[in-house]
Symmetry: none
Subunit: 121 residues, 4 copies
DNA sequence: GTGGTCTAGACCACC
DNA sequence: GTGGTCTAGACCACA
């Protein structure tokens, strides 16, 4: 996995884990990779993975069973989805619209690109 | 002007100046506020404004006339716009689409929000 | 290290680092001294070293690993060399020739001085 | 006339005037353009031209007749030439040789470029 | 430990 | 007046 330059690595890891929970790849109550495992896989310092897990624990997407590891929360996926949807509609979208206006890009252009995106996959 | 917590102030200033160039508020070949002026206006240290100007100079949006101050590049607005449009279409939009897919949000939802946004203004 | 009067210190530091990369003293992918270390060694403010490193990063001679330090770019030396060679041939040399003409100095004089230089070392 | 970015304008003007004296375009004891004339021609502030003239006066390449203007010194050309030749041999050339060594450029390459330069003109 | 940002204040060359 | 550089010192996020 390669990391973007300008975002903290632990946040990128958290997002990555979040994605796996959201898509159901890691189901509720299921154990996720140990800190060390993931650290080796991603070639980062274990502390950094730990920080990502702590972050997700604070958001109650995952929880810790002492001595066993981290597990996906019962309603993990739902929670993540609700949280991110909220943020998407309240923050990201308005920002997008502002940018569009500044760059004089119409909603039709977005639709066009969307079609391209969907067919291109 | 108020600054967001998580982004470097000098980058926010640069973005602000960039916007003014993009919208044509500051036309090509026109002088922009001096480092000291803007520093007073924004209530930050002159060094911070200086960093923002350096950044924009590197991107060739503005240039310096020795002893006179900073000026908007001849094709400043066009350049900024082309650069940002490119980035928007190549990077931000695909990312947006990926998020939409993940959150199961359709293009119709975007259109709906867009209408709300436009009428709300 | 002593600094010339008329050139910004941070540029002299950058040139110094560049030389070390060019000569292969600091090999590709190798860590270079931390900002603080070099600041102590050169007896300058850390900010000044930081500016030098920023400059070199912009030129893609070095890059930053978050939390770890600055590293020589993969093709750092090659890039520096190509860049400087280009500049030498395209800019410095023609300027030299113009000066020679103006001062009525022939190529033979250059050769003579070159011999002196090489033997004198 | 266009000015290089990184060198003080008044020094570039001085060099330009010096060239004219050196080549004999402006002969000894002959009047050179007035400060204002040159300022208009070069589109710079008269103060800047004045500074260049002061600089040349210090080097005794030109002198001032009060109320009349600036004149090329009796032995202006000779003086300029001697001064610049000295600097060329003592400073510029050794620097050049050092660069050549660093970039692994031999004297033969210089000769080759010189031939190209001379025939190209 | 690493870089990154910011402030305050100073001094300078240049136009 | 303009930018440009430098220092000292602080605080922060990140690995």
């Amino acid at each position: 996995m390669e990391f973007r330059e300008h975002e903290a690595i632990y946040l990128q890891i958290a997002a990555h884990v979040s994605d796996n929970i959201l898509t159901g790849k890691w189901a509720a109550e299921q154990k996720i990779p140990s800190v060390r495992e993931l650290a080796v896989e991603l070639q980062v310092n274990p502390n950094t993975v730990m920080r990502a897990y702590e972050f997700l624990q604070n958001q109650q997407e995952i929880y810790n069973k002492r001595g066993l590891g981290f597990y996906v929360s019962a309603n993990g996926a739902a929670q993540v989805k609700a949280y991110r949807k909220e943020r998407f509609l309240q923050q990201e979208l308005p920002e997008l619209f502002r940018t569009m206006q500044l760059l004089e890009i119409g909603i039709d252009e977005i639709e066009k690109q969307y079609t391209i995106y969907k067919t291109g996959k």
